[in-house]
Amino acid sequence: MSLKIGVPSKGRLMEKTFEWFGARGVEMRRNGNEREYSGVVDGAEGVSLVLLSAGEIPRELSAGRIHLGVTGSDLVREKLADWEDQVADLAPLGFGFADLIIAVPAVWIDVDTLDDLDAAAAQFRASHGHRLRIATKYHRLVRDFLRENGVADYQLVDSQGATEGTVKNLTAEAIADITSTGETLRANHLKILTDGLIHRSEATLFAGRAADWENGARGALARLLPRLGVEMPERI
């Protein structure tokens, strides 16, 4: 039984992950042809590579089908209820930074804070007859954040892509999305609320508590982590 590690299957996240492990003497690479999602690990005994969509890695960790996984901290928090009970946060990897933020039209000169957003939502509902719509794909994180901050009279509408365009397209009044430079937001005439940072996301190495850690997996982890410069978690 080997230690299975799930890694994003394409793009910059995959490259950066391979680099991070490579810099620590663990070579990861894809094998087969360009389109085939399989990979190998050199230099770490008993470790096998599983290439997955970054969005599916939280679920695979939760289900115990992989022992370790690299994915965004935002995705784990969004997709897993009580995420800390399900996975152990082993190490931030120093790339894949993105902020989950709330943004409103720049033309809203009266709205800069959550306090303003809440008041504008009350006003909006009174004049339009429905709750102020916030487009997002991060439903759990946004709802928890707004509840914690006592914002009312809003509704979340699902947007799986091009979220910044929803305001102009009249399907939402505000958005909650990830941004790294804010350029797309500005291009779409949106501004970030000053206290609207919901989560600062970073690619992170997680361990799934539901995986089978017997039959050699724990031993393989104990050999792997020191090479990565990562501490063994207190409990998995």
Binding site: V107, D110, D118, E148, N149, G150, V167, H189
Partner: protein, 367 residues
Amino acid sequence: MTRAADRAEAERLFAHFRAEGAVPVDADILLPAGTLLDLYGEDIRARAYVTHDPLEGEMMLRPDFTVPVVQKHMAHGAEPARYTYMGEVFRAQEHRGERAREYLQVGYEVFARDNPPDADAEVFALFANLLAPLSLKAATGDLGILMAAVAGLTTSERRKAALMRHIWRPRRFRALLDRFGGRTPVAPTRRALLAALAANPAEDLIAAAGPAIGLREPEEITARAVALAQDAEVPPISAGEVAILDDLLDLRGNCTGALAHLRDIMVDMPAITPAVDRFAARLEALARRGVDVAALDFEASHGRTTLEYYDGFVFSFYAEARPDLAPVASGGRYDALTRVLGQGRSIPAVGGVIRPGLVAQLTEGRA
């Protein structure tokens, strides 16, 4: 899963409420999600099961009976009315643990215009008698007093409305009160906006800020900007009044002591007099029905964090030795809800629910 013992206990309570003269009512298990979302806000999504119907759109598995029962009454109920119901409710649990996802509720609701304090006492005493064998602890409160205090503040109507809207969200209420009381500094962005508004018409600032995108119209932005400029001229809520509200928010003790304390507060804030009189009338009605009000707990903030519709008397019964259990019974007055769901009409209403599963569990534990 509901056990046979739970169902038997539910039947027993349901029969008892019917014997009291309550008319049994049914409610659908699948409810249109829109009404519940508009009422409770987006939070209900995390607490109820949402599903999809090809024709009706979003539906929810019944998270409680209050909304369908009120709707039924407002549509074709005679007055006054007493209803009882029995059935499963469904609550999604976002955290691991023992909290049940489906359980039985048996409820009793009174819709009556005459003598609300007596109707409050009727429901509470009925529940107290039914639950007496379990030796539960009762907690009570009265959101009407807090609301009357907010209405009685010496400040703008806009500020009062903002506070009133967040009575059920303690944290935002606190933040608003601190801001209106001048206890937190004005945010730098707000200071900048106020300075800009002092020098330019709001319309010019809006035009300069970017293209008008979205449904929220420039007129709405102007209206709120102007309101913010006006609000900046409103003097802070006095330290004395903030202290009274703080005193109220922290008020806890037995009902008799709480009443004496509220009479003292009344001297400085006469606006709460009608609400305190209603509280006093309720205590008398409770005493007439055999409740020992000198031993009954009162907490002015009780019920502020539950689903937001209670606006007067609130109560719950819980097992002191079992802090892990949810309250065995809870309820309260929800006059405003009948107005929201009554499309223009309203009627004073009070009621509550018992969880027969918890009654059965505690009864077995005692045996």
